[in-house]
């Protein structure tokens, strides 16, 4: 690859690529270059298509493009047949032959592989007709469809690095910052701090050298937006970082990726190498005289390293202990030098804003929250996946219109946003518009974008206990409120779930929670009480049931439930008996069975296998 020496050469290169690769040639798109797509078997599907096309001597007429995450994770492996855009779901190796002979050779649709809308029963042929995609605004994630993340040319073909060339040659650094300020972009990692302002402070800070960091330590359980962006479109993040570095005056950048994301590291390494070959990174970028390099650093398995000061400590080779932010990291960050840290999704928004303009961008969203946000919609939801929506969209639109509602006809109970720093939003607030302010007012927060849906079988006390235990494990242990306080909160919550508590414990939880919020060293401890306090606020009755009635309404807390068999529904099939690890189930075939409560360890294996809904948990 030859180095691109000026914007004109870049445009020439782009035209050449488009001519060579992007004619109306038919193409099979398979999302294989993403961890969970890969795990659902898309590699086999790719291989099957490769074999199949060869068998029919079509390998030169039809392209296979392997891409990153396409968003609708529930129906993976997804195959899209271009140019008509026919979408097939849950494709297996065995299906590929039919797809080739019917759709590719004869333009006939394989009906059984189409996505079926659960409510109407309609079959959807293309992405545009699927309710999952209709209400989304996939400006960032939508590009994954067009890119093989290991091919920089694919990114260039969709106007990649155009924003960078524009900025380096036509826009002054201060004006870049103004544009980002005007756009209203706010940090997508959870803090929601205005990005333009942060860059302004970093630029004004005294000190040399200045550093630029991409925080890819996505630790919120249930959130995987950053992973999908890095795996599926690493160049969008790289381009954003270079633009930011230019605006601030930095020449050295780091991407700190968590240890559990090997594929993201791999794709990023490859992307950096290719960008260097083209001269988009390194010395004299696109002939402009601006230098910038990016290094990748891997985390060591610590959630707390998502906190910016802990991340910087880890980059310096020290344990990831946060420090007080009375002196801001934009002034004294990495090695005490001015450092600008932004989240993956924040960086990915930058080229979009430069290309389309701050005016266009600021029309999307609400008054104070502009642009789109990518959420990971997971948990008890029909359409699990990554959704990108304009700020201000209502929660019920996300959960019902896009998410397809709750599986198995169960009732919606709450949605947890903001990860361990956030809170649970109940049914009564289902019409809440989603933006930074509204979520915080409701007692939760935007966070990095995890959206975990819970139904009537989720116990909110158990959820609070889960989050406290999670944070207890991940706490760095430096400050007393977080280390001691969270452990004690965990003890009280455990007592509540075991029916060993009283009303005073609830008050103590609230008191502890307030003090931890006030005195913790960093945001991990400072926001740790949120899940507890928000569940107490909205689900106090459920806590009271555990405390006063010694009862778990959702049927989750082991110590408070008992498994029994509904004599009317049990057919005596014997499936549960086989599963029981304690031999607690007895009975004769074809007659109703019985569970011995003395032997039962409440593992729930019987409940999981019973096809007749005959196991009762109360």
């Amino acid at each position: 690859m030859k180095k691109v020496k000026n914007p004109q050469e870049l445009e020439t290169l782009r035209k050449t690529i488009l001519q060579e690769k992007y004619s109306e040639k038919p193409c099979i798109i398979i999302s294989e270059k993403s961890t969970c797509c890969y795990l659902s078997g898309s590699r086999e599907v790719v291989e099957a298509f490769e074999e199949g096309l060869k068998n029919f001597d079509l390998q030169n007429q039809i392209d296979i493009k392997t891409t990153g995450c396409l968003g609708f994770c529930e129906i993976e492996p997804i195959v899209i047949i271009e140019p008509k855009g026919i979408v097939y779901q849950k494709v297996k190796r065995e299906d590929t032959l039919e797809i080739i002979t019917e759709t590719i050779l004869n333009d006939i649709i394989v009906e059984r592989l189409l996505y079926v809308e659960p409510v109407s029963g309609n079959k959807c042929k293309t992405e545009e007709s699927m309710p999952f995609y209709k209400k989304q605004s996939r400006f960032i994630l939508g590009n994954n469809r067009f890119i093989n993340p290991l091919e920089i040319n694919d990114y260039i073909a969709i106007n990649g690095y155009k924003a960078l060339a524009n900025v380096l040659y036509k826009i002054k650094p201060e004006d870049v910052i103004d544009e980002i300020k005007k756009s209203g972009l706010r940090g997508r990692g959870g803090g929601g701090f205005p990005t333009g302002k942060k860059w302004e402070y970093a630029r004004a800070a005294k000190g040399d050298p200045k550093y630029v960091i991409c925080n890819a330590d996505e630790g919120d359980p249930g959130a995987y937006m950053d992973r999908s962006l890095l795996e599926g479109n690493p160049h969008s993040v790289i381009e954003g970082m270079i633009i930011g570095a230019y605006a601030i005056g930095s020449h050295e950048g780091f991407v700190y990726v968590r240890n559990e994301y090997p594929l993201a590291v791999n794709h990023l390494q490859n992307a950096i190498k290719q960008a260097e070959e083209y001269g988009f990174l390194g010395k004299n970028i696109i002939g402009s005289g601006f230098d910038f390099t990016i290094k990748i650093s891997r985390g060591g398995g610590a959630f707390v390293c998502g906190e910016s000061t802990a991340l910087m400590a880890s980059l310096e080779g020290k344990p990831g202990e946060p420090r007080a932010k009375y002196i801001h990291t934009v002034e004294k960050g990495l090695w005490n030098k001015p450092t600008n840290l932004n989240n993956v999704e924040t960086w990915a928004n930058v080229p979009l804003i430069i290309n389309r303009g701050a005016d266009w961008y600021s029309k999307i969203g609400t008054d104070k929250s502009k642009g789109t946000k990518i959420f990971s919609l997971v948990g008890k939801i029909n359409n699990t996946g990554l959704v990108e929506v304009p700020m201000g969209i209502k929660l019920n639109e996300i959960i019902y219109d896009i998410g397809g509602g709750i599986p198995d006809g169960k009732k919606f109970k709450a949605v947890q946003t903001g990860g361990p720093s956030g809170g649970c939003i109940p049914e009564s607030l289902i019409n809440l518009p989603v933006d930074y302010e509204k979520l915080t007012l409701a007692g939760s927060m935007m966070g990095s974008g995890g959206m975990i849906v819970m139904d009537e079988e989720t116990c909110m006390v158990d959820v609070a206990k889960y989050f406290v235990n999670f944070l207890k494990e991940e706490s760095c242990g430096k400050c007393v409120p977080c280390r001691e306080g969270l452990e004690r909160m965990g003890e009280i919550l455990t007592d509540i779930t075991e029916g060993k508590s009283n009303d005073e414990d609830l008050e103590l939880l609230e008191e502890l929670g307030e003090v931890i919020k006030d005195t913790a060293l960093c945001a991990l401890g400072g926001t740790a009480p949120n899940p507890v306090l928000s569940t107490i606020k909205y689900f106090r009755d459920e806590y009271k049931a555990h405390i006063e009635d010694k009862r778990c309404p959702a049927g989750v807390c082991k110590a408070l439930i008992e498994y029994s068999i509904d004599l009317n529904k049990c057919t005596g099939c014997g499936l549960c008996l086989k599963q029981c690890p304690q031999d607690a189930i007895t009975g004769e075939k074809k007659k109703a069975y019985n569970i011995d409560p003395m032997k039962c360890i409440k593992c729930g294996a019987c409940y999981d296998v019973c096809k007749f809904d005959a196991i009762i948990k109360k």
């Binding site: 994770c73 359980p221 610590a302 080779g317 948990g379 947890q416 593992c603 999981d608």
Partner: protein, 162 residues
Amino acid sequence: MRKQGELLPKDFRLLDAIIKKYEGKKEFLICILQDIQNVFEYLPRQALIHVSEKLEIPLIQVYGVATFFKAFSLTPKGGHTCTICLGTACHVRGAEKVLDKVKRSLDIEVGETTKDMQFTLKTVNCLGACALGPMMVVDDDYHGHMSQNKVDEILKKYSSRF
């Protein structure tokens, strides 16, 4: 899988090569430890002492870093590492039940290794594969949509004692 014990001269040469790769710079301590863990499958005591000397970092600091991060293990692991994801999405879909079943089947607690050194049980807080939850990873194999009754079937594939 190597046993805990003395490091051989060739092991020290390997350590030096890793240190050289990072130009012996203090800030690459974590990267160096990660590379050592990749090769030895854990962090041998002698390796930590050697790194402390070569990088001129006080041993207690090296030890502090090695014990702070969960990715590092100071004891040799079992033949197969079984990791259950306890992320929120997996939790809500019943990951605790899967974990309990694995604990019963292997008769160990989290962080422990079975007596015959065949399995080590770990947990992780979100692998980022939430659509496939609950997730169980054995070595490099990911198993999605887990439930209690699938556990023994899968463990059987890795060890004859099932």
